[in-house]
């Protein structure tokens, strides 16, 4: 019996060790300036959030420094493609002391959880956030079933 309790104890010790290592890994990651990807994810595309509110889908993307002409949105059925180019805003005749922000182009595609009505999509660009409101296609909307 004793040996068994010991085994369990040791197992928990190992788990604690593993957890503390994991925690350290995360703090290391977010603490350093250089290793952060800024507004972009690991593949170099803007980070996005997706919310589903039944009738509509809302997609938000971080696109700092992009104007609406720099962005391209294409949609077909439940396939959405977001592409864009961030052009350098470095001023002429200045000496650069620190350059952390990057200027590249990206393409990111999504499979939306439902078909959307492509004619009624609203896209708003505000303070470097792109918000898309995508109404679901009639067939994909949730339906109220009345009980007879």
């Amino acid at each position: 019996m004793w040996t068994r309790v010991n085994d369990i104890d040791r197992m928990f010790d190992a788990m604690d060790l593993f957890r503390s290592r994991l925690n350290r890994m995360f703090t290391d990651y977010s603490g350093a300036y250089g290793e952060d990807f800024g507004w972009r994810d690991m593949n170099g595309s803007p980070r996005t959030n997706l919310y589903d509110s039944g009738d509509t889908i809302q997609l938000i993307a971080e696109v700092p420094g992009l104007s609406k002409d720099d962005l391209n949105i294409r949609i077909q059925g439940n396939y959405l493609e977001l592409s864009g180019t961030r052009n350098s805003d470095a001023p002429q005749g200045y000496k650069a002391h620190r350059v952390e922000r990057d200027f590249t182009s990206f393409t990111r595609s999504f499979t939306l959880p439902a078909d959307v009505n492509a004619d009624k999509i609203e896209a708003v660009l505000h303070d470097g956030l792109l918000t898309l409101v995508l109404p679901k296609a009639e067939a994909a909307k949730p339906k109220q079933i009345s009980i007879s």
Binding site: S30, Y33, D36, G38, W39, D41, R47, T48, N49, L50, Y51, D52, S53, G54, T56, I57, Q58, I60, E62, V63, P64, G65, L66, S67, D89, A90, P91, G93, Y94, K95, A96, H97, R98, V99, E100, R101, P113, L125, D127, G128, L129
Partner: protein, 128 residues
């Protein structure tokens, strides 16, 4: 029943439960010419009124908070509410009263003009 809902709402409002926003250092570019130091910082989603810029005794602090307006349940989330905050050392020779900031498309552009005395001058050598 009434009491039960009161209890739940009170719990939501409890100060201890209010979470502090995660702090992220915004990515910046810093440029300089003879007249000014120029700082560009990426702060997507931060409104103008939620940004503070503080220059004090050679210390420049920029800070901006973002709270997302969302609707519905989250399917995936790669970014969230955040406080962008970063502190820099700047030369004392910055004209604090003439610092000027603009915010466009989520990028903060901060112009820090150098004081007249700190500008580099070319000195002419007169021949006798």
């Amino acid at each position: 029943m009434k009491e039960a809902t009161d209890l739940t709402t009170r719990r939501e409002e409890m100060l201890e439960r209010r979470q502090e926003l995660p702090r992220i250092a915004p990515m910046v570019d810093i440029f300089e010419n003879d007249d000014e130091i120029l700082l560009h910082a990426d702060m997507p989603g931060v409104a103008k009124e939620n940004i503070t810029v503080n220059v004090d005794n050679g210390r420049l602090e920029i800070s901006g908070t973002r709270r997302l307006q969302t609707k519905g349940s989250s399917s995936w989330q790669e970014f969230g509410d955040v406080e962008y905050r970063r502190v820099f050392s700047v030369p004392q020779s910055i004209e604090v009263t003439k610092v000027n900031a603009e915010l466009k498309e989520g990028v903060l552009k901060l112009h820090l003009p150098k004081a007249e005395a700190a500008k580099s001058r070319t000195i002419k050598i007169s021949s006798v």
